[in-house]
């Protein structure tokens, strides 16, 4: 294992009944690195993220985040992770500011209002701080969900289709934020179906197929067409 690996997965298997979604997945993500997980629907990208986020237990194998076992010691893992999944984790009848106050309070962080407003400003939602989330678009809810991690400062970000539902401006903001997160020594594991601009933040791409990692390679200077070609090659062979 690399000494600066923040995420380490070894021989991971996850089965639902008799169906093995993941089987023998092994990978590492170092501090300051972003890994993009590619794969067809049902390839196990979300399952892998959920295991790393301590929301699902592996059937076999181990997953470690920030030096802690995700299955055996989830409480030690949780302060180090930020999960952006399909749900935005926001309450529709609370305002944006109240949502942030609730989640930071629940995490035991006594965050002053000025910091909460600064987090909303970072995701360009400060004008909507007093608005109920029920009136927000899907993209605004996604940005609000990201604002939580501006405050919580996790070491590992687990992102499931993080750019989905965002407009061009929000995508640019997220890209910059993720680059800054990496530069600060954070690690990112990002599941995506997109081969375009969303992959710019990734240092490596891993293609999940047939339950395992079919390809794990540096992204380098590969463009969208080249990645799409690799994706087709490995998902068609591995599926």
């Amino acid at each position: 294992m690399a000494p600066d690996a923040l995420v380490r997965v070894s021989g991971l298997r996850k089965a639902f009944g008799g169906h093995r979604v993941l089987d023998g997945v092994t990978l590492e993500v170092r501090a300051g690195e972003a890994l993009a997980l590619l794969g067809a629907n049902g390839a196990g990208k979300t399952t892998l993220l959920r295991i790393l986020a301590t929301l699902a237990r592996p059937t076999r194998g181990t997953a470690w985040v920030a030096g802690h076992d995700c299955a055996r010691d989830p409480e030690r893992v949780r302060p180090h992770i930020g999960l952006v999944a399909h749900g935005s984790y926001v309450y529709e009848d609370l305002t944006a500011l109240e949502n942030l106050r609730f989640w930071t309070g629940l995490a035991g962080l006594g965050v002053p209002r000025t910091d909460l407003m600064a987090a909303l400003a970072a995701v360009e939602l400060e004008r909507f701080a007093g608005e109920r989330v029920r009136t927000f678009s899907a993209g605004m809810k996604r940005r609000l969900s990201l604002a939580r991690f501006v405050l919580a400062r996790p070491r590992v970000l687990l992102l499931d289709e993080p750019f989905a539902g965002l407009d061009q401006r929000a995508k640019k903001w997220l890209e910059e934020h993720l680059q800054a997160f990496k530069a600060g020594g954070g690690a990112i594991v990002m599941a995506t179906h997109s081969f375009g601009r969303e992959l710019a933040v990734a240092d490596r791409i891993a293609i999940l197929a047939g339950g395992g990692i079919a390809l794990d390679t540096p992204r380098g200077s590969r463009g969208a067409d080249e990645i799409a070609r690799l994706y087709r090659l490995y998902t068609e062979n591995g599926a």
């Binding site: 986020a53 984790y89 009848d93 629940l106």
Partner: protein, 225 residues
């Protein structure tokens, strides 16, 4: 201190969401009103029949309203996957249980006060003298009911047949509390002093302590599984 603050933010959030949506309170108010109409038609003006059945009817109203209210405890957490957010929040999960319990307790006491007021109006009751004793019995009974109800609401929140499963699990466990509350309410409404129902009150207090302790100790495990 952090535990108390974490529990408090849960209470604050739940009450704020309820104040704005008024979903539970409105539903329970109209449900209580409907229930009272049914009782009124069933019993008629016979005062003796009413006196004999009032404690049971009162607690039937509290329980039915409580089942509806408690069953909705974690519905708000299903929206936008907030349930997962609660699970991922670092720290002792029993603070979430205590916060949810406190919020439910407040909501149930408001509904019970409303229901009691409706009983007084509908049946032209004179309960002023019995009110302090009745308040104690209702408080003790409600704590036990809410403690188990909050725990089972969490247990069934992610289950498909939760509306069916929730009362099926909750009511058998509540038998000691229901028995004690109805008996103590009957005695208090007949004008007996609290000392005469001390054994029921002790049973209620003991059940409350056990139920709350069980909730605090098992909620973390329950949420994780």
């Amino acid at each position: 201190m952090i535990f108390a603050r974490r529990a408090w933010v849960v209470v604050w959030k739940d009450l704020l969401v309820e104040r704005r949506s008024k979903e539970t309170l409105n539903a329970l108010f109209f449900f209580s009103l409907l229930l009272l109409f049914v009782f009124q038609f069933a019993l008629g003006p016979d005062r003796e029949r009413l006196a004999a059945t009032l404690p049971g009817l009162l607690w039937l109203g509290f329980i039915l309203a409580g089942l509806l209210g408690l069953g909705r405890t974690f519905v708000v957490e299903r929206e936008n996957d907030c349930w997962e957010g609660l699970l991922l929040a670092p720290g002792d999960k029993s603070a979430i249980y205590v916060g949810k319990l406190a919020g439910n307790l407040l909501l149930m006491l408001v509904v019970e006060a409303m229901l009691l007021a409706l009983f007084v109006i509908f049946f032209n009751l004179e309960i002023a003298a019995a009110l302090p004793g009745l308040a104690l019995v209702v408080l003790l009974g409600t704590v036990g009911f809410a403690a188990v109800g909050t725990l089972f609401a969490a247990m069934t929140a992610q289950v498909r047949a939760r509306e069916l499963l929730f009362p099926v699990l909750l009511l058998p466990v509540q038998v000691p509390v229901l028995l004690a509350t109805v008996k103590a309410t009957e005695a208090v409404l007949l004008g007996e002093p609290l000392g005469a129902v001390a054994h029921w009150l002790k049973l209620l207090a003991a059940a409350d302590v056990i139920y709350v302790a069980a909730g605090v100790l098992t909620f973390d495990f329950l949420l994780e599984s």
